[in-house]
């Protein structure tokens, strides 16, 4: 027999045209309406009414209890990046909210769609320095696409609808909604939830202007040495197919920023490799030889351009971007094509002439051969006793065949993984590109697995980065995300050490980091684990890890003082890239 309370609960949890209930229930209904199924969060005093409501939504919303709010937001980022959906994170007020800041900054600079919900003290306590009160709106303003504080439950449906619309439309980004406790508790009669598709002051994407595309096509058609640089914009715009059609018709070699990696398969004949500081030899050198550069959904980050006043000065730049603020920001464009590349690329492809740039492509191949001989072969097939990060990646490629999702942390292993990992599919390379957040890897991999449950997710992390967010092993233990954790341990903060070696006379200042027994640590969390310190056991250990049913941690001891090359030293031109 149903009790009165059961009936009340049932009434409260079904969304109907009008709904009477608490602000907290309305919030959860809104999430369901927006297609949210997974939330990464951590409860606390000021968000308790929302968690209380969540208790009744267990069948509709899966909540993953992380071990730290930073872990929660990185997981939401990983989820958004693999699934293409909006990632959702919950945190309480005060420290809970401030712990989100790193993830917000990361999502802002890497254009990751997130909606973060933070609890806040009662509205009447705002500004009184109440317990766990912090001015989260002002703290997060520079690192959010939009944020808003709700003090009255009546605002919840409209604000949530706006939040999701803003997070995912145009150039995506993180949105934070701060809800005071009284609004969470407030009982209201709510109208039916209406999704948002227009805000008068907000233009998610500029209107496509055909005349600029025509100008771009003219430049491309007359170019002798055209060169395409692509970034994450291709992936965020779901324009992989349109992009492939463009380069295949025009026969233009294409190189990627690390955020754009995977938008076309690694072994595509026109994929000439990675741009920037640790990118490939040819793409960097030939940037300063191309006559027309077509930049698509990328923002000429300093790690890509090196010294700006010596960057592609000979080239005419065509820049396609959805965000007008990016065009002419760092590199002046001859033609700026404002708009969503899913719309602009097909028009451009249509206007572009079919072409093959054989001799130009051969130049890329020549440089590639030099890089293979001097850098890649020694890295992937080392002759020395010490294992290299590159050979670990080669083995992963051989086992997974480019089908795995690779999540990386930040540092040497990240550059090696981006350089050598093979990708057949888009949304497979998850890394902290713009912000360079150490500690991103493990929590992001958890989210990545929830976003792509049928894929093998491998988190490649250094010994330093792993020690920044190891607490998320607890999340894996409790919720069973089958993440393969691969720690490449060189017993140094390797990237900083490399710089100290090359540019600071080998003065190794605080880069000598010691580690706990990672295998024992994993086992303390009931996660299967192993450690490899010689090459003979590497392949088998990797296979065991990848074929293991659940989560697994493998520590691989690699050479202590290996450097990542090629390298464009800071302040140098891309054409001054060093092979050693």
């Amino acid at each position: 027999m149903e009790t009165l309370q059961d009936i009340e609960t049932k009434k409260a949890t079904t969304t109907s045209p009008t709904f009477k209930g608490s602000g907290s229930q309305m919030l959860l209904n809104a999430l369901i309406e927006e297609g949210v199924s997974t939330i990464f969060g951590y409860p606390g005093g000021a968000i308790m009414p929302i968690y209380d409501a969540l208790y009744d939504y267990a069948d509709k919303l899966e909540h993953i209890l992380v071990r730290h709010e930073q872990g929660g937001i990185h997981a939401a980022q990983g989820y958004a990046r693999t699934s293409g959906k909006v990632g959702v994170a919950f945190a309480t007020s005060g420290p809970g909210a401030t712990n989100l800041v790193t993830g917000l900054a990361d999502a802002q600079i890497d254009s990751t769609p997130l909606v973060c919900i933070t609890g806040q003290v009662f509205a009447h306590l705002l500004g009184t320095d109440a317990f766990q009160e912090t001015d989260v709106i002002n703290i997060t303003t520079p690192v959010t696409k939009w944020n808003y504080q709700i003090t009255d439950a009546k605002e919840i449906p409209e604000v949530l609808a706006k939040a999701f619309y803003i997070a995912k439309s145009g150039r995506p980004g993180p949105v934070l909604i701060d809800i005071t406790k009284n609004a969470q508790l407030q009982i209201e009669e709510f109208e039916a939830y209406v999704k948002c598709n227009h805000i008068r002051s907000y233009r998610p994407k500029p209107k496509v202007r055909i005349e600029f595309i025509e100008e771009a096509a003219k430049l491309i058609n007359s170019a002798q040495k055209p060169f395409v640089l692509f970034g994450q914009g291709v992936i965020l715009g779901n324009a992989e197919k349109e992009f492939k059609a463009f380069i295949e018709k025009t026969g233009i070699p294409a190189a990627w920023t690390i955020m754009g990696e995977g938008a076309i398969p690694t072994d595509h004949p026109l994929n000439v490799g990675m741009l920037g500081m640790h990118g490939n030899y040819g793409p960097n050198v030939l940037t300063n030889e191309a006559d027309v550069i077509i930049a698509i959904g990328m923002r000429f980050d300093d790690r890509v351009t090196g010294r700006l006043d010596k960057y592609a000065k000979q080239a005419k730049i065509v820049h396609l971007d959805i965000d007008p603020a990016e065009i002419d920001k760092n590199v002046k464009a001859e033609v700026g094509v404002w708009g969503d590349c899913k719309e602009t690329l097909p028009i451009l492809t249509n206007l572009a002439k079919e072409n093959k740039h054989e001799t130009w492509l051969a130049q890329f191949r020549d440089y590639n051969q030099q890089e293979i001989d001097q850098v890649i072969t020694p890295e992937l097939y080392p002759s020395g006793e010490e294992m290299t990060m590159g050979e670990v990646l080669r083995n992963i490629n051989e086992i997974c065949g480019g089908e795995a999702i690779i999540v990386t942390d930040v540092g040497q292993h990240q550059m090696v993984a981006c350089r050598y990992a093979k990708f057949n599919n888009t949304r497979s390379n998850i890394t902290s590109g713009g912000l360079g957040t150490m500690g991103f890897g493990l929590p992001a991999a958890i989210g990545a697995k929830y976003g792509a449950p049928n894929k093998t997710v491998i988190a490649i992390i250094g010994d330093g980065g792993f020690q920044m967010t190891p607490q998320e092993l607890g999340t894996i233990m409790q919720f069973g995300a089958a993440v393969k954790i691969l720690i490449l341990n060189n017993r140094f903060l390797g990237m900083v050490r490399q710089w100290q070696q090359l540019f600071h006379d080998k003065r190794y200042s605080f880069v000598n980091i010691t580690s706990p027994d990672f295998v024992a640590l994993a086992k303390a969390y009931y996660i299967a684990a192993d450690k490899v310190d010689e090459r003979a056991n590497l392949r088998k250990a990797l296979e065991t890890m990848i074929n293991h049913e659940g989560s697994y941690l493998l520590e691989v001891m690699v050479g202590r003082e290996n450097n990542v090359f090629p390298m464009v030293p800071q302040g140098m031109s891309v054409s001054e890239i060093r092979l050693k």
């Binding site: 709106i137 002051s201 907000y202 965000d323 002419d328 920001k329 700026g336």
Partner: protein, 211 residues
């Protein structure tokens, strides 16, 4: 004629050096938006010379008038960053020759000083000041004009007893603007109308008013 041969002077958008720019921002009236806009400047360590917030010609839409001394290139980037904010409708930036502007200054002087010294009275006449308050102990004058004018009076009053001085932010009207009414209709339509790229690629032929 190539660009190299032209010597641009301040007031011209092609002048490469720093000059005063008036940035006009049409935005929703929302708590926190001022912060969102001001951090765009402070993030780049750029000082705002003056900032005024006021209603605009349209009820419910706010108008920010920001004065900075920077190069065209910098101002253009700032304007795009501001326009990118969700609650900002439109940003214009103009050189001094493209706007009509005023600032209001208030001066508090000792009444005894000005009644005793005829020169002071003459000064006030000369600078077009009006008396706002006259009391036994002090008098408050106001002057409306450009910074140079209000500054000149400060200088002139220095030998006497200038007790207090304050100047408001710049407010400005854009010479070629037809106001925001038509633009707002575009913004309110579902599909954004064909605006865009006004500062860059569009021909600048269709000015609405000329002076």
């Amino acid at each position: 004629m190539s660009n190299d041969t032209i010597k641009y002077i301040p007031g011209d958008a092609n002048y490469e050096g720093k000059q005063d720019f008036t940035i006009t921002v049409y935005a929703e009236d929302r708590v926190g938006l001022l912060n969102r806009i001001s951090i765009i400047f402070s993030k780049r360590k750029i000082n705002i010379d003056s900032l005024n917030t006021s209603p605009s010609e349209i009820a419910g839409i706010h108008r920010f008038t920001i004065l900075i001394n920077e190069s065209y290139e910098v101002v253009r980037k700032l304007a795009r960053q501001i326009e990118k904010q969700v609650e900002v409708l439109k940003v214009y930036f103009n050189t001094d020759s493209e706007v009509i502007w005023q600032e209001l200054a208030l001066y508090k002087v000792s009444t005894e000083e000005i009644t005793e010294k005829v020169t002071v009275e003459r000064l006030l006449r000369q600078y077009g000041a009006t008396a706002v308050v006259i009391r036994k102990d002090y008098t408050v004058f106001s002057v409306t004009g450009h910074k140079e004018e209000t500054d000149a009076l400060v200088k002139a009053l220095e030998p006497y007893e200038l007790i207090e001085f304050v100047r408001s932010a710049r407010v400005a009207i854009i010479k070629d603007s037809a106001g925001f009414h038509e633009k707002l209709k575009e913004f309110e339509a579902e599909e954004p109308g064909e605006e865009r790229v006004e500062n860059e690629f569009l021909d600048k032929g269709d000015k609405i008013f000329t002076m």
